[in-house]
């Protein structure tokens, strides 16, 4: 971007707090192992189901169906195994950053994305805990803005206490507009 576009800016851009120098915080240490094991479990059950379908003696597969089942099973298993690997390498890279006025989250191994949600634009906020998350003391913080459901800002794998703290921080933020 050329500099003349910025001539009439009231503030020097260099002095603004910058997004590329955020202090990233890692998620809960149990988050990655939990997801890796979850993926491994899913992969093995898919593989078991597939093998059971191939080898079960009750309904012999027809000659046209057998190769379809065989190859689609292989593709499915490879995809599952890939997601395990991806999980193992990519999930530790997930991180969040909390500043005075906004909340950021970054993720991705090959495709890196960082999302920033200004606190003043938050409509409402939810703390979600699935059964596994409850078991491991984790929580997912969901933040909704008017950007629509596709742009819901979700912060997964937080220790419950941290999630509560962030939630309180946002709720007590003076910019938070709360709707009944």
């Amino acid at each position: 971007m050329t500099t003349e576009t910025f001539q009439n800016l009231p503030v020097s851009l260099a002095q603004l707090p910058s997004l590329d120098t955020l202090q990233w915080q890692t998620l809960a240490p149990s988050y990655t192992p939990l997801n890796v094991w979850l993926n491994v479990a899913i992969t093995s059950s898919v593989a078991l189901l597939w093998l059971a379908l191939l080898w079960q003696p009750f309904w012999p597969l027809s000659t046209t169906l057998a190769p379809v089942v065989f190859w689609s099973g292989i593709v499915l298993c490879v995809l599952c195994a890939w997601s395990c690997l991806y999980c193992y390498f990519a999930y530790p890279l997930k991180a969040y950053a909390l500043r005075q006025h906004d909340l950021s989250f970054q993720r991705g191994l090959f495709f890196k994305t960082s999302i920033t949600q200004p606190i003043t634009r938050i409509q409402h906020i939810e703390l979600k805990r699935g059964p596994l998350e409850r078991r491991f003391g984790l929580a997912t913080l969901q933040v909704f803005s008017a950007g629509g459901a596709a742009h819901t800002f979700a912060l997964p794998g937080l220790p419950v206490a941290d999630a509560e703290t962030i939630r309180q921080f946002i709720l007590q933020h003076k910019d938070t507009v709360q709707y009944a």
């Binding site: 971007m1 050329t2 003349e4 576009t5 910025f6 009439n8 800016l9 009231p10 503030v11 851009l13 603004l16 707090p17 910058s18 997004l19 590329d20 006025h101 906004d102 991705g108 090959f110 495709f111 890196k112 994305t113 960082s114 999302i115 920033t116 949600q117 200004p118 606190i119 003043t120 634009r121 409509q123 409402h124 909704f144 803005s145 008017a146 950007g147 629509g148 459901a149 596709a150 742009h151 800002f153 910019d175 507009v177 709707y179």
Partner: protein, 521 residues
């Protein structure tokens, strides 16, 4: 509708009559039934097999078919009747309460201050009995919409007034000193911003016709249609099928026949499109009150859309391929959309679109909304050339290789043709890259994008909802980023821009949002 009955509204009846639980006027029965029919017939996935079934049905057993049709009509009428009976509403001091639903009972409480828009619709069949359909739009993460299907004119307008009056009392009214003209209609401070003449609407109809789309959708029916046409023409002694028989005709005459037929089809569809444009936008008027934009138009069903000025998220200038030839463009005033509404085709209701404007008029309207915007003079920055790489490598190259391998020894002419096609795709890719441009000034972010047509967006930075910066490994090495600006009206992406520029825009936009404390709605 509103102009005609302003005198009635002046002696506004009190809303006291609406305090008891009551049903809407009986004429709403027609509305409910037609709405059901529209629901069925606007759904292509239901309609296509249905039409096919009907077509087959008429051929095989007309008797049973008529019976089925009769049953369908009875079912729709019954459901419409039951919906009508189940729908009850009342207006207490500052809340609209609605009970509705056949199987699943719904109760809706709408405080006036949560109603974003009050749209008044007047279908043709309401005009004789002076009724209006009142649509109440609410905002928020879960969009709800409530319809009072039929209220007498004066009550509907009184209700709209009451809701808007409460809004004014709540919000800080902005000063407006640059009114161009005053019209004394319902509200005394309505200023007429823009009207559209029939010729403008015809231009809009031509440039916005969806001829190709219609022809695509009609594809399954080509054979039956041509059969029917052929039979009809043979009655008049015209043997149309022999024109298209290239064993009997020379190539020249065959080609002529094909071109002529295509042109006739295009002409018919364009005429339909013009008719649709005139029907929708007849007597188009864009008005501005001290806190709203109001659009009124319509030949048969008169529509009114109004949008609170503070709810406006961005301005979108659109110029399609044909618009360029006419030197026209369209302006969209866009506000919050819920994705659900967009899917259901309801997304247009919240927007105000001004068709077929000359660039000067468009500029004038834009200036009226955002006085300090510099869209006309701003220098757009290009995005990086690497933008075209994914398209070239992932689409063009495989296509090229595959087509050459597939066609080469057997059909050289097809192989050459496919090279041409791939080159056209590549050229479009490059054109799209050249079209992308972004710029920012102290208040606004500007985006230019498009392929054949061009779209311009002018976004006030403080309306930003969320920001996303993304890149893949190759982009990281080249120092490039995608920048996604999420607003309540949608998501704008600037792909392959220099990282520094992306962060500059992101940081400044965040600063605008966080430091200005200006509301987005």
């Amino acid at each position: 509708m509103l102009e005609n009955h302003s005198t009635q509204a002046a002696s506004a009846p009190s809303l006291n009559v609406l305090q008891q639980w009551q049903r809407v006027s009986p004429i709403a029965l027609v509305y409910f039934c037609l709405h059901l029919l529209k629901g069925i017939f606007s759904n292509v996935s239901i309609l296509a097999p249905l039409l096919l079934l009907f077509y087959k049905g008429i051929q095989r057993s007309p008797g049973y078919f008529m019976l089925a049709l009769g049953l369908l009509i009875i079912v729709i009428a019954t459901i419409g009747m039951m919906q009508y009976l189940a729908f009850r509403f009342r207006v207490s001091e500052d809340t609209v309460e609605i009970q509705s639903g056949l199987l699943r009972k719904k109760q809706l409480n709408l405080p006036f201050n949560r109603i974003q828009n009050v749209r008044l619709l007047q279908p043709l069949y309401y005009r004789f009995s002076n009724h209006l359909c009142v649509v109440l739009d609410t905002a928020g993460s879960n969009q709800q919409e409530a319809r009072l299907a039929a209220l007498p004119n004066n009550l509907a307008e009184a209700l709209q007034q009451a809701i808007y009056t409460q809004h004014v009392a709540v919000s800080h009214s902005e000063a407006n000193d640059d009114l161009t003209s005053q019209t004394t209609e319902l509200v005394s401070d309505e200023a007429l911003l823009c009207t559209r003449s029939i010729s403008d609407l015809i231009l809009y109809g031509i440039s916005n016709n969806r001829a190709i789309l219609v022809m695509g959708f009609a594809a399954p029916f080509y054979v039956p249609i041509t059969n029917i046409l052929d039979q009809q023409l043979q009655r008049f002694g015209i043997d149309a099928s022999q024109w298209f028989n290239y064993e009997q005709q020379s190539w020249f005459w065959f080609g002529l026949a094909v071109i002529a037929t295509t042109l006739v089809f295009l002409l018919i569809i364009t005429l339909f499109s013009i008719a649709a444009s005139v029907l929708t936008y007849y007597h188009f008027r864009l008005l501005r009150t001290h806190d709203r934009y109001i659009r009124r138009s319509g030949l048969l069903t008169r529509h009114e859309i109004s949008m609170k000025r503070s709810r406006l998220q961005w301005m979108h200038l659109q110029q399609d391929g044909l618009d360029k030839a006419f030197g026209r463009c369209h302006i969209h005033y866009e506000q919050i959309v819920s994705p659900l509404a967009a899917v259901q085709g309801e997304g247009q209701h919240g927007k105000i679109m001004v068709p077929a404007l000359t660039p000067a008029m468009a500029q004038q309207l834009l200036q009226d909304v955002y006085p300090s915007n510099q869209l006309a003079v701003v220098q757009f920055n290009p995005i990086n050339w690497r933008y075209i790489l994914p398209g070239l490598v992932l689409i063009c190259l495989p296509l090229l290789v595959a087509s050459q391998v597939f066609f080469w020894p057997a059909a050289p002419s097809l192989a050459y043709l496919s090279i041409g096609v791939v080159m056209v795709i590549a050229a479009l890719q490059i054109l799209r890259w050249r079209r992308f441009g972004y710029a920012m000034d102290a208040e606004y972010f500007y985006l230019r994008r498009g392929l054949i047509g061009i779209d311009y967006f002018c976004v006030p930075l403080h309306k930003l909802q969320q920001l996303k910066v993304s890149q893949h490994s190759f982009m990281q090495r080249a120092g490039l980023r995608h920048l996604h600006l999420v607003c309540a009206a949608g998501n704008l992406t600037v792909p392959y821009m220099p990282a520094q520029a992306a962060y500059d825009i992101a940081n400044y936009a965040l600063y605008q949002v966080q430091a200005s404390h200006r509301s987005w709605m």
